[in-house]
Each structure stands twice: as structure tokens, then as C-alpha cells.
């Protein structure tokens, strides 16, 4: 970036004389030449800065203003503006501004960006900030080139124009057409105010002053997203005198990018609801659905001293596999045991099968993974096939079906095959097949006392009708264990 040594305003820009209060008197964040800006003579940034500082002065919001500076020649905007300053990564200013505005709705948050910053690398951020109607003001300096990095192509560079990365001129077959930012944003519902202005002569500068003020004022009034695009000279990269550069803004850029208001919803924009008052800290646990200590688990009953249940529950999605596991874990917790519950997750769930690992133990659970279950609940055949070989000798297997397939048996495990889901269907709802199976498991293996299971169900099932049905299902499952069945292995 070329370092300036004179800051004489170019012809036509002499109407701004005195320093705005929103500027520092002395640019102490600059390492040298602290009485002048780093912008080149005739640079549009210098003018736009003055117009913005003026607007901040006139609206009386200097204390409330937070300026987000971009990456580009205006990266050091914070050298000059005597307001709260945050410097953002290249293109991300609208996201940064969003974070600030949402945190401090009273702040006047201004995102100041160049055309590479806003219209190239930061396209997603500006589009979505605009589309959300973030209540911020964006000053968009379109000088149709990358200034800071020495004159590379910008998305806004006119067709045919030279840049260091379009040395033969911008070619539509290679770089496409110049991007029209305000028109693009005008396709969105949310923006409140969009205007394009230019710095091509004093008349245009006066209009730019009004537009920039308007953009800030909208925010002061609590309206939504405003963006002012400023067609701006870059005499240094354009290799022109300030006067020639201004002429080009007037005669070429303003032809390619028509000036004027493309969106004005300031009269009828819906008002953002005021942020709600935060609740007292003491209310947080309840608001977070965290339970109070009355529900604390009772001491471990003696019968569970050696408990070490490693349970795998598997079946089709929709059979209540995960819930069965959760009831067991909740009941174990209520009974004072250490517990863990680990589901299969992601596409596996979507592909139609589902399983979970549950551990109930008198000692802290070392691993939540159950690789050698001593209880397998298989609600369908594929699950039985898949997991039966893993079951520890002497373990319990509950299988939903009239009998296990002939090639799917083990003499060394206690297998109980019943049509649990059909039983549930007879109770009136096949969906409680999981709870019927649970009832059978409790009857056959014990695991955890009924009172704790009942407590777990009461916690997990909020609807009284369903809870009632689940209780019936539990009882039916217990009963089913005692029906004669040819393939029971004791």
C-alpha cells in the first residue's frame, strides 16, 4: 500500500474542512505521521471516513458506535475513528458485526468494507447478514480494484479493465461480469435501506453524505439492515491524478453502477422486538430443566452390591430400542447404581436399525461400550444374528419372535423367545413392544426392582395414557415369561 505524504483533498472535495469529533485529534495508533491519514491523496476512503465521522457527530452517537474495520486499505480505520473499534478478518466484518450487535443491541455497529472484502471473500457473510436483517450499517467502498494488495482484479472491476491479475483486461469468459452488490441484496426481503452513491464531484459527495447519515440514522432508529455502496476513486492503482480518478468515477463507474436508492423500507419496516430482560440466576437450573436434589438417588440397596449388567438392546428404528435402554439406565440410576447409555447414532439410525449399550454397575462404569453383553435384547432377527455370538456364556437373551432361527442358537446362554410386539399389539399399541420386552427381562433376570423402573417410566413418559399403557405392558411382559415355550433355554 502506497504511503501518502500529502493529504490535500482533490478538487471538489474541499467542502469538508474542520475535523469531526468522531475522529481522534491525533492519530496515536499510527506509528508515524500522526497528523495525517495513511490514505493516498484523492483516495475515496479518506472522503468516506469524513462523511461517516460527520454522520456519527450529527446523530450524537459517538459513545455508542462500534466500528468494524475490514482487511483492505481501510484496515486501519481504527487509527482515525474515536469510537469503539474492532478489527475483523478479511470479509468477515458482517459476521463480527452480527456478534457485536446481538451482544450489545444498544451499540451502533458499523461494518466498513471494500469490494474485495465484501463482494469476493465475504460474499456469504454480507448476504446472510443482509438476509437476517441484522440491525447494522454497512459502508461499502467500491473502487473496482484491490487497493491494499497492489491492484488485483475485484469482482466489481469493469469488463476489459486492466489489473495485475487481469493483465489483458477483464474477460467475461474468465472472470465473468462485474458484481452489482446493492441490486443483488435488493432481491432479499429483509434489508431496510440500500443506496448507491459516488464520490465523483461535490454534488455526488453531498448526496453520499446524506446517504451515509441515513444509513447510520436507520440504526439509531432501531430499523434493520442498511448498506450504502460508495463508488470511490483509487487514483494510485488506477494510475491517475485525483482529478482524473474522480472523473472516471463520475463518467465510467457511475454508468456501470447506477446511482440511487434501490430499497427504502424505512417507513414500513417491522420493528425488532426489544430484547427480553434476563431471568435471575437462581431461576437458571429450572429453566435448563435441571432437577433439584429432592430426586437424589437413594443409597445402594444391598442386593446390588455386585451388579454388573452389560446390556445391549437392538432392533429396527421405531421399535423403541433407545427408549428401552434409557428406561433401564434411569431405573439403575434411581436404584443408586452407576449407569451409562450409549446409542448408535447417525445414518445407522436412518438406515433402519438401531442399538444401544447400557451398563448398570455397582462400581464406576469403566467403559460405556458393551462388547460382551450379559443381556441381549434383540427385537428383530438381524439383531439376534449380529449380536448373539457376542453374548457372554450364561447371559440372558430376549428375542422378539416365536422361536430363534435354527442356525441362531447357543446352548450356553439363557434365551427367551416370545412375540413381545404382537403382545403389545393385543394391549392396543404395538409401540409398547419394547416395554413388554422390558417386563420379561425384569422377570427373567431381575436387573433392577420394579419400583425404580416405574419411577423411570414416570419420568420419561409424560402422557398419563401412555404411562398407564406402559405399566400394563410391563406386567404383560412379566407374565409372558411364565408361558410355556418350546425353545426356552433355562
Amino acid at each position: 500500500m502506497p504511503e501518502p505524504n500529502v493529504s490535500a483533498p482533490p478538487e471538489g472535495l474541499t467542502l469538508i474542512h474542520s475535523k469531526a469529533a468522531a475522529f481522534y485529534d491525533h492519530y496515536e495508533r499510527k506509528s508515524e505521521l500522526q497528523n495525517q491519514t495513511h490514505y493516498c491523496p484523492g483516495c475515496g476512503h479518506g472522503v468516506a471516513h469524513k462523511l461517516l465521522a460527520r454522520a456519527i457527530d450529527e446523530l450524537g452517537v459517538q459513545d455508542r458506535t462500534v466500528l468494524v474495520s475490514p482487511v483492505g486499505c481501510s484496515v486501519f480505520a481504527y487509527y482515525y475513528f474515536d469510537v469503539g473499534n474492532v478489527q475483523a478478518a478479511h470479509g468477515r466484518a458482517p459476521a463480527v458485526a452480527t456478534g457485536i450487535k446481538r451482544a450489545r443491541p444498544e451499540a451502533i455497529v458499523i461494518s466498513y468494507q471494500g469490494d474485495g472484502d465484501l463482494a469476493a471473500i465475504g460474499t456469504a457473510e454480507i448476504l446472510h447478514a443482509a438476509n437476517r436483517g441484522e440491525a447494522i450499517t454497512v459502508i461499502f467502498i467500491n473502487n473496482a480494484i484491490y487497493g491494499m494488495t497492489g491492484g488485483q482484479l475485484a469482482p466489481t472491476t469493469p469488463v476489459g479493465c486492466w489489473s495485475t491479475t487481469s493483465p489483458y483486461g477483464r474477460n467475461i469468459w474468465n472472470e465473468g461480469y462485474p458484481l452489482h452488490v446493492v441490486e443483488t441484496l435488493a432481491s432479499l426481503e429483509a434489508p431496510v435501506y440500500l443506496e448507491r452513491v459516488a464520490l465523483g464531484n461535490s454534488k455526488q459527495v453531498m448526496q453520499a453524505a446524506k446517504a451515509i447519515r441515513r444509513g447510520v440514522e436507520n440504526q439509531v432508529k432501531g430499523l434493520g439492515f442498511s448498506l450504502i455502496e460508495v463508488l470511490s476513486p483509487c487514483p494510485t492503482i488506477w494510475k491517475e491524478t485525483p482529478v482524473e480518478a474522480q472523473r472516471r468515477v463520475r463518467e465510467e463507474l457511475a454508468q456501470l453502477y447506477p446511482l440511487g436508492v434501490v430499497r427504502d423500507k424505512t417507513k414500513d419496516a417491522p420493528r425488532r422486538p426489544a430484547p427480553s430482560f434476563p431471568p435471575p440466576l437462581t431461576a437458571l437450573p429450572e429453566l435448563l430443566d435441571i432437577e433439584e436434589s429432592e430426586t437424589l438417588a437413594p443409597p445402594v440397596p444391598a442386593s446390588h452390591d455386585h451388579a454388573d449388567w452389560r446390556i445391549k438392546v437392538a432392533g429396527f428404528g421405531g421399535q423403541g430400542v433407545l427408549m428401552l435402554g434409557e428406561v433401564l439406565a434411569e431405573a439403575g440410576l434411581a436404584a443408586g447404581l452407576e449407569v451409562s447409555w450409549l446409542p448408535s447414532y447417525g445414518p445407522e439410525m436412518r438406515s433402519g436399525t438401531s442399538n444401544c449399550h447400557v451398563r448398570l454397575s455397582a462400581r464406576p462404569v469403566d467403559s460405556p461400550l458393551v462388547t460382551q453383553p450379559n443381556v441381549l435384547v434383540a427385537l428383530n432377527e438381524p439383531s439376534l444374528r449380529k449380536f448373539l455370538p457376542e453374548v457372554a456364556p450364561g447371559g440372558y437373551v430376549l428375542y422378539n419372535g416365536p422361536e430363534p432361527p435354527a442356525d441362531c442358537r447357543r446352548p450356553d446362554v439363557r434365551l427367551l423367545a416370545r412375540e413381545f410386539v404382537a403382545l403389545a399389539d393385543r394391549l392396543g399399541d404395538a409401540r409398547v413392544g419394547n416395554i413388554v420386552t422390558l417386563g420379561a427381562l425384569l422377570e427373567a433376570a431381575g436387573v433392577v426392582e420394579e419400583q425404580f423402573v416405574d419411577r423411570a417410566l414416570a419420568r420419561l413418559v409424560k402422557q398419563a395414557r401412555l404411562l398407564d399403557l406402559d405399566r400394563k405392558a410391563l406386567a404383560a411382559g412379566r407374565e409372558a415369561v411364565h408361558q410355556e415355550a418350546p425353545h426356552d433355554i433355562p
Binding site: 459513545d63 469503539g84 451482544a103 448476504l127 437450573p285 435441571i290 451409562s340 447409555w341 447417525g346 460405556p368
Partner: protein, 364 residues
């Protein structure tokens, strides 16, 4: 408060709110989405901000904005999203902004899969962004620690004005265990350096630019001093039956729980075996490893990756004894039997040839 059965992911968010977090910006990704969904549910209730960003790039920059404005803020993601956040993390560290990021790791590289892995260690612990910076990294191994270490993460983030990671794998994120939350919610603190948009903070600047070489070097040195202090004060690890261990296992997160079973089982067979579980991955428990390397004759590291943390173990061991590695990827979690087979193999080999040659130590 009661112990309540809750998913690790949900525990992170609830604990964060109790720790004073009032803003969450995120983008959905399995297996971290429950954190984002819980944020969407609970933050509005407590007068906080939740926003689903257009990308992780945007999310981390919204965090940069919120942190600049002095709000306790967090996000959650997994491998691909963390990759996108690296730019922002570098800026956050450079501008000395506190925030908390939960990375619930999945399989990579590329889109990989959504099953649990520990292969984000390099990008999280070593810092995937540009510049000389660090992120503090906490590695929970249970739902309870998801809660406890999230609360600690906010404290450390503020203390060091630096991003802090909670690094867990999909298993810890997805599983439910009993959790007891902190008894007293923390009031969101105010920070004198923040830019709040008022007269008191008008002079504040949040920036990571230091144009002059000397100024940038001074800044980087200041950050480095902070990291050195962190290395002195914040190391946490758990040692399990290492008092007399000649074979020292090292693993974090879900793997450490498997290794505990392994230690139990082999101890019952009379093996002199113990476990070192790093809880902070940065700062790494270098001194503890070094101390054990003086007494042990073999280290064995197990990870859900092809070997990332093992580099830090080797650096800490400094060749005092050999370091063996066993890793699984793709979402496969080794069974305790598999680990025991691996240990029997390497332990047997070491016993047979106790003399260690230099080359072998480095490239075991």
C-alpha cells in the same frame, strides 16, 4: 443438585449456561448437533443469543464479535467444521479474545464419516490456524467431565484471554450418564477490555494487527509468556495405578476408559501396569510422563487415530524408554481384548529384548 441422566453433548451446553455463557453461534454437524440444538432451546430462555450461522466460518467470526463485546460465548462442531474455523481461531488468539469451542470428533479425512475418532488432535492441540499461538485443550472422558470441563473452559478462557477447546469424541458426546451440575450459576462477568458500545469502553480496540516487526514480536512474546504460565499452572491429568507401573498406558477420552478396564484385568494377572490419562492436552502433562518414563520400561499409547498424541508422549519421554502405539480409525473402537493382545505382543517383545536401540526408540 441431583445427578441426572443426560447426554454428554447436552451436559456441555447446560454447564456452559450455568458458567455464564450467554451467546452461541453454530452450524449443525453430526455428532455435535445436540449441543447446537440445546443452545437453540435454552439460550433464548435465559435472555441469551442463539444463532445458526451460514457456515462455521461465519460462526467463529460471530464469536469473535460477541467476545469483542465482552460476552461469554461458545460454539460446537466436529472435524470439517473445526477446519473451517481455524482462520477465526487464529484471529481470536491474536486479538486475545476468550471463547469456548467444543469439538466432538468424527472420522476423517475429508468427509470421512460421523463415527467417533480422535483425529482432530493435531488441528486442535497443535493449532490449525496461522501464527504462533496455542489453544488450551481439555479432554473429558465422561458426561460429568463434559459438564465440569466446560465450566473450567470458560474460566480458563477468561483467565488467559484465549480460545479454549473441549475436545471429545462422538462416543462421549452421544452417551448418557449421570451428571451433577454446579450448584451455583455464575453471573456473566464484565471485561474492562471489551468494546461494549458505550462511553466507558470507547477507547478500547480489539485487533490482531501489529504492523511493526518489533511490535508484533513483542505481542507474540507476550502470548508465549501466557502459554508458559498456562503450562506451569493448568496441567491436569489422572494417574491410575501408576505407582509401581513398569508398563504405562496413555490415552484420553473414551480410550482412557477402555484402558482402565485393561489395567484392571492385567493387574489381576499380576502385570505391573498403570494408566496416565491427560485431561489437558494443551498444556500436555509432559512432566508426569517424564517422571513415569524414569520408572517404566515401556509406554503404550492407544488412540482413535493413526497416531497424533503419541508424538507428544514421545517428546516427553525423550527416549528414556520405548513408546509403542496402537490406533484404530473409521469409527472402530478397539475392544479391551484387542488392546490386551497388542500389549501382550509388545510387552513380550520388550521383555525378550530389554536393550533399547536408539533408532527403535524414535520409530517404534
Amino acid at each position: 443438585m441431583a445427578r441426572q441422566l443426560i447426554k454428554g453433548n447436552e451436559a456441555i451446553l447446560k454447564s456452559a449456561v450455568l458458567a455464564g455463557c450467554r451467546a452461541f453461534y453454530g452450524y449443525p454437524i453430526t455428532p455435535a448437533s445436540e449441543i447446537t440444538e440445546a443452545a437453540a432451546k435454552y439460550l433464548p430462555r435465559v435472555g441469551g443469543v442463539f444463532l445458526q450461522a451460514e457456515s462455521e466460518t461465519a460462526a467463529i467470526n460471530m464469536i469473535y464479535g460477541a467476545a469483542s463485546a465482552g460476552v461469554r460465548v461458545m460454539t460446537a462442531s466436529s472435524g470439517p467444521g473445526i477446519s473451517l474455523m481455524q482462520e477465526g481461531l487464529s484471529y481470536l488468539a491474536g486479538a486475545e479474545l476468550p471463547c469456548v469451542v467444543a469439538d466432538i470428533m468424527r472420522g476423517g479425512p475429508g468427509l470421512g464419516n460421523i463415527a467417533p475418532e480422535q483425529s482432530d488432535y493435531f488441528q486442535v492441540v497443535k493449532g490449525g490456524g496461522h501464527g504462533s499461538y496455542r489453544t488450551i485443550v481439555l479432554a473429558p472422558d465422561s458426561a460429568q467431565e463434559m459438564a465440569d470441563l466446560t465450566a473450567l473452559a470458560f474460566e480458563l478462557a477468561d483467565k488467559y484471554r484465549n480460545p479454549v477447546f473441549v475436545l471429545a469424541d462422538g462416543t462421549i458426546g452421544q452417551m448418557m450418564e449421570p451428571v451433577e451440575f454446579m450448584a451455583r450459576p455464575v453471573a456473566p462477568p464484565r471485561f474492562p477490555w471489551a468494546v461494549e458500545g458505550n462511553a466507558a469502553t470507547r477507547n478500547n480496540l480489539v485487533s490482531s494487527i501489529y504492523l511493526e516487526p518489533d511490535a508484533l514480536e513483542a505481542h507474540v512474546n507476550k502470548l508465549e509468556e501466557k502459554y508458559r504460565r498456562c503450562e506451569r499452572e493448568e496441567v491436569r491429568c489422572e494417574q491410575y495405578r501408576t505407582e509401581d507401573a513398569e508398563l504405562v498406558l496413555v490415552g484420553y477420552g473414551i480410550v482412557a476408559r477402555l484402558l482402565k478396564s485393561v489395567v484392571e484385568e492385567l493387574r489381576s494377572e499380576g502385570w505391573p501396569i498403570g494408566l496416565l490419562r491427560p485431561i489437558t492436552l494443551y498444556p500436555f502433562p509432559t512432566a508426569a510422563v517424564r517422571r513415569l518414563a524414569g520408572q517404566a520400561s515401556l509406554f503404550a499409547v492407544v488412540e482413535l487415530s493413526t497416531g497424533q498424541m503419541v508424538d507428544d508422549v514421545r517428546l516427553a519421554v525423550e527416549g528414556r524408554c520405548p513408546v509403542e502405539f496402537h490406533g484404530r480409525t473409521g469409527g472402530n473402537i478397539p475392544s479391551t481384548d484387542e488392546i490386551i493382545r497388542f500389549l501382550k505382543n509388545v510387552w513380550g517383545r520388550r521383555r525378550a529384548a530389554p536393550r533399547v536401540d536408539e533408532l527403535e526408540v524414535l520409530h517404534a
